[in-house]
Symmetry: C2
Subunit: 219 residues, 2 copies
Amino acid sequence: MKKYIPVLKNTKLFAGVGEEELALMLGCLQARLCTYKKGEYVFKQGERLGNITVLTEGKLHIQSDDYWGNRSIINVVNVGEMFGEAYAAPDSGDILNDVVAVEDSAVIFFDVKKILTVCSSACKFHSTVVQNLFFAISEKNRNLVRKLGLMAKRTTREKLISYLSEEAKKNNNGTFDIPFNRQQLADFLSVDRSAMSNELCKMRDEGLLVFKKNKFTLL
Amino acid sequence: MKKYIPVLKNTKLFAGVGEEELALMLGCLQARLCTYKKGEYVFKQGERLGNITVLTEGKLHIQSDDYWGNRSIINVVNVGEMFGEAYAAPDSGDILNDVVAVEDSAVIFFDVKKILTVCSSACKFHSTVVQNLFFAISEKNRNLVRKLGLMAKRTTREKLISYLSEEAKKNNNGTFDIPFNRQQLADFLSVDRSAMSNELCKMRDEGLLVFKKNKFTLL
DNA sequence: CTCTTTTCGTTGTAAAAACAACAGACTTAT
DNA sequence: ATAAGTCTGTTGTTTTTACAACGAAAAGAG
């Protein structure tokens, strides 16, 4: 687990905490490391959660499949990002989505109670972490609202334009890579893949954008 | 403002704080009361926010209108509920949605900094409020994910069934009132009103449910 | 390198939603 | 009580999406 300390140091959760303190806190917060092969589930819908988790290696999707097999990708978790923090409160109920590794991944679990309860001695950075946690969850909240704005768009084209514009803005560049293949992008936007592919090509033919595989350029 | 202390006492934000302490905290947290007539805006998209707010009277919608006039209702704020808490972090950026009074309303504003900074003396309940704030924002997070699940549904019928089922569960009763008229429900689900109305009537004719105005019964 | 599997674009058809327009029921204000 | 305005359901048309099926290109395995 030690080897991930440099990763943890750069997370939003542990912002402002030094490597030495971090090493101490790993014990204090009862950190556990688990690894997952591509395709394995970290959590499944309906489970209970008593942990806050940080992805230290790989990539995860937060998603759910409905009765008919339609998949909906809620969010992507990248290295250094946190997940499960919305279930930190004691009466949070079952988790609503699956969390699945889309690459070989490593996850560190922290005991929620240990984080929320101010500890006795060593960890003077404890209160920093609690505040970090609050800010991080606020940010996630804003991102969820942003995604809701995306999902509220009525047509596939509007969804694509909104999504790609945001990605361009995020990268400060009209050219950028998206973290999805076509099927995943369709699942993220909740549309049919072939219809989306069709619409993308129409937009390309109209001169709105160009793309090659996952690299897009807005014109 | 005093007259709203009983309301505040029952909010999730001030859970566990007595009325006397609350009276003190109002000053400590620099509470301000504002009232709004039906239809007035509390916040507009693009503004900055340095407050956490509690609705003490009336009803609000968090919504946004796109370029073509399509309205999307993100959420409803009822008496005793909080809003704006996702912008408590210092670098939260502009707010993404409008907040509008759908009834004559009263809102109490609290200074975010005063809440997050532990105060000197009187307010021994300060840390309670900070933890309440964290739990409340976690819950809102879960609700946003739930709404995303709704929006991910591909057809109007599926959206309706999901929404109405959740409302029934929330009320522990197959018969319940919804807080929307038809146009608002359509805006909440991001579908066309007439198409939705049509679908509702088809579902009624198929014997799935009955309704009269805002009162629905699932069968 | 060859074979297999996955990804992506393309097409045609069927289903669903958006849109527009309108009439009747219900509300609200005067 | 009347008139004006709003809300809701209904219908027909147009647009968009979903679905299914397939071939070519790309990626991965042996």
